[in-house]
């Protein structure tokens, strides 16, 4: 054991040394696991910032067994310190060990019921493990889970803003997008939530999994809140399993969506009351209530398409609100959020609906469009690369070849054969 320690200390200098060290450590892994109880004092001899790889192996062996509450807090401290001071290149040589250490860290933090302590170290861990900001690691969903449990949504938003192009494991993507959707709902960023939940629902899956079912329920509700309608068919890039099965598994929600589209609030509210327990058991009751209140907004928006001016009393009647005062509050809120363009004349209580005042004449618009074009160009390049990869995929070529026309034009006889009837 001491020999191993000295070797680690000696061989952590250059990259080639580290590689040979890794081989040594792999061979010594079993013996490390066997002596896991003896290891903690050795940890003090190693410096996490210089001997990251060796420290990682030792740490992983230490935390392998069941951990008691007292041990948990000391381990949490050690692991947190390790994560903040370790060297990224060395850890990337043994990513699965690093991931398992971090997962145990998360378990211990949850055991201590202090998820907040785990948020910052987990964020650093993600940054060190990621190969680039477009890479989704197994730590992303753990991080989002900690953020959800500790209710610090803002830190999660910085991670959610990054676009993901590479994924290690599909399960990571599902969990990441699902948690991300929940966090965005918590922050009332419904557009982002819709995008993330959409990713879960349309991701390729050979069989429908539970995460997708839960995500689909939330997806229906968020799409009602944000868009005011729910598209009954999933797009064609959703897997066929999802297309057939998801709707049958989420029946009450689909019915909620159809009664929403009828536009009558009273019906909607009775339906919600009737199925309250189902919604509550899914922890979706809050979202359902938000969906019901968004119905008013939807109806007011529908009014803008028919009328140029309308009195507040009329609005209240059409939208089935109780008084013109409530109508005024709703309209005011919507103007502030930028959902409609209108002016309220308080003297006679008339609301005038206006057109979108954007003239596309300003420099800010130029910058916005310019940056959108840049983003689109990068996406386009990536798509082209993916398209080429897909065209060379043997699975695709095998199936595409089968659908080709078997006969050439020349094989046809111009004179139709005589049929003997």
């Amino acid at each position: 054991m001491e020999g191993l320690v000295t070797q680690i200390q000696g061989l952590s200098g250059t990259a080639s040394d580290v590689l040979s060290l890794q081989n040594l450590l792999k061979q010594a892994d079993d013996s490390l696991h066997a002596e896991s109880t003896r290891l903690p004092p050795f940890l003090d001899q190693l410096d996490p910032s210089k001997h990251s790889l060796g420290y990682l192996y030792f740490l992983e062996a230490c935390t392998a067994g069941p951990v008691t509450q007292e041990q948990a807090s000391s381990f949490v401290l050690t692991i947190a310190r390790f994560i903040s001071s370790c060297v990224a290149e060395q850890i990337r040589l043994a990513p699965d060990k690093f991931i398992s250490v971090c997962k145990r860290f998360k378990d211990q933090v949850l055991l201590l019921e202090e998820p907040l302590r785990g948020v910052a170290p987990m964020l650093t861990a993600i940054r060190k493990l990621q190969l680039s900001s477009e890479h989704l690691t197994a730590l992303h969903p753990e991080f989002l889970l900690l953020c959800l449990l500790s209710k610090c949504y803002k830190t999660a938003l910085s991670i959610l803003d990054e676009d993901i192009f590479e994924v290690d494991q599909p399960r990571d993507l599902f969990l990441y997008c699902y948690y991300g959707g929940m966090i965005s709902i918590g922050q009332k960023q419904f557009r982002k939530a819709l995008e993330l939940l959409h990713n879960v629902v349309t991701a390729p899956m050979s069989t429908v999994n539970a995460i997708a079912v839960e995500a689909f329920k939330k997806y229906i509700l968020v799409s009602l809140i944000h868009h005011g309608q729910f598209p009954t068919n999933l797009p064609k890039y959703a897997s066929s399993g999802a297309q057939r099965n998801l709707k049958t598994l989420c029946q009450p929600y689909v019915e909620l969506a159809s009664s929403y589209s009828n536009g009558k609030i009273a019906d909607l509210e009775t339906y919600v009351e009737a199925n309250k327990d189902k919604f509550e058991s899914d922890n979706n009751l809050g979202l359902v209530k938000q969906a019901v209140s968004s119905m008013y907004k939807r109806n007011i928006q529908r009014l803008t398409q028919t009328y140029l001016t309308l009195s507040l009393q009329d609005i209240a009647n059409r939208v089935q609100l109780n008084s013109p005062k409530e109508a005024e509050m709703h309209v005011l809120q919507m103007i502030k959020d930028g959902e409609i363009y209108a002016t309220i004349n308080q003297k006679d209580g008339m609301v005038r609906f206006l057109e979108d005042p954007e003239q596309y004449k300003t420099c800010e618009m130029i910058e916005r469009i310019g940056s959108s074009i840049q983003r689109l160009m990068t996406v386009s390049k990536k798509l082209n690369v993916m398209d080429e990869l897909m065209s060379c995929d043997p699975l695709y070529l095998a199936k595409a070849g089968r659908e080709r026309q078997r006969f050439d034009f020349d094989d046809f006889d111009n004179v139709p054969p005589r049929y003997n009837i």
Binding site: Y237, S240, K361, I366, V379, S380, L383, M390, L395
Partner: protein
């Protein structure tokens, strides 16, 4: 032939003349049957038969005021190969007609096409000397040289030089400038932007329009850069300070920007935004189509139940 004239006359050439000569030449060339071949392609009777591009001839007319000779217009003449001279009666008839319409114009000389002035040209030149004591010879080189930056037009004068003890008339080259009237500028612009037959579609017109603006801006940019470089050198002291040039630069700078008003800003930004939106839309369409293909391929490869089964129907 000497290379520079010493007569001290300044010549101004109008683009109408150049366009006319070029048009005459092109017409004749496309009407000859068979079209002229290149030099090494045919041998007839053991003699290498070289069909050259046809030469066209004509007269140039214009005004001479003091030391300035301005060539405004020209007309075509027939060349008689037997007498090696131009058709005289026709020339006189044309001269009369032109005198009626443009009383101030005189016959200043004649023109032809070719790569260089030849000895036989002197014959024609001398024949014209009775109309004009010192006629001009305008020569257009019809061969297209993509590397050449200047116009392939040269103006020759005749001078009496003593060569080998014998006084001879030889051609000497003269420099000239191009002078345009507003109407000519419009038509030259139009001709310059002529595109081949399918130039009618909106996409190529837009592309041509934007390309024109782009090259104009590029040229402006490069010229200003030269000026900037020069001024920086002057500031450092590498180049002696020239006040007249500095005054010119300063007056130029005061003229830019050419328009500065709010309406212009508005319209300019709106047009800029429109172009950007068009580009954005085009990129979007491109991206969507790639994505569509990718999704189709993915579904074919990995989704077991996606296809409706069976082969596609044949024609």
């Amino acid at each position: 032939m000497a290379s520079s004239s010493s007569s001290g006359l300044t010549f101004k050439l109008h683009p109408l003349v150049i366009v006319n000569i070029s048009d005459h030449y092109t017409r004749v060339k496309s009407q000859t049957n068979p079209p002229p071949l290149t030099s090494t392609s045919a041998t007839v009777n053991g003699v290498e038969h070289q069909q050259q591009a046809p030469r066209v001839y004509g007269c140039v007319i214009g005004v001479q005021r003091g030391r300035t000779v301005e060539i405004f217009n020209n007309f075509e003449l027939l060349y008689d190969p037997s007498t090696h001279s131009l058709d005289r009666p026709f020339l006189e008839k044309k001269q009369e007609l032109y005198k009626k319409v443009f009383p101030h114009f005189y016959i200043l000389g004649w023109y032809s096409t070719g790569s260089d002035a030849q000895e036989s040209d002197m014959h024609i030149h001398k024949a014209l000397m009775d109309i004009n004591e010192s006629p001009l010879y305008v020569l257009l080189n019809p061969t297209i040289n993509p590397a050449q930056k200047d116009l392939p037009v040269t103006i020759y004068e005749s001078e009496l030089h003593v060569i080998d003890g014998i006084p001879q008339l030889i051609f000497v080259r003269s420099s000239y400038t191009i002078e345009t009237v507003e109407a000519e500028r419009i038509s030259v612009d139009h001709v310059a932007h002529l595109k081949p037959s399918d130039g009618g579609s909106a996409a190529t017109q837009l592309a041509a329009h934007l390309t024109g603006i782009h090259s104009a801006i590029k040229m402006l940019n490069s010229r200003i850069r030269v000026l900037h470089h020069y001024l920086v050198g002057m500031q450092k002291g590498d180049i002696p300070c020239e006040n007249s040039l500095l005054r010119q630069v300063s007056s130029l700078l005061r003229r830019l920007p050419a328009i500065e008003s709010e309406k212009f800003q508005d319209d300019f930004l709106m047009e800029y935004n429109d172009t950007l939106l068009i580009t954005y839309l085009a990129m979007f369409t491109n991206c969507s189509s790639t994505m569509n293909e990718l999704v189709d391929k993915f579904n074919t490869a990995y989704d077991r139940h996606s296809r409706r089964g069976g082969r596609t129907a044949f024609i």
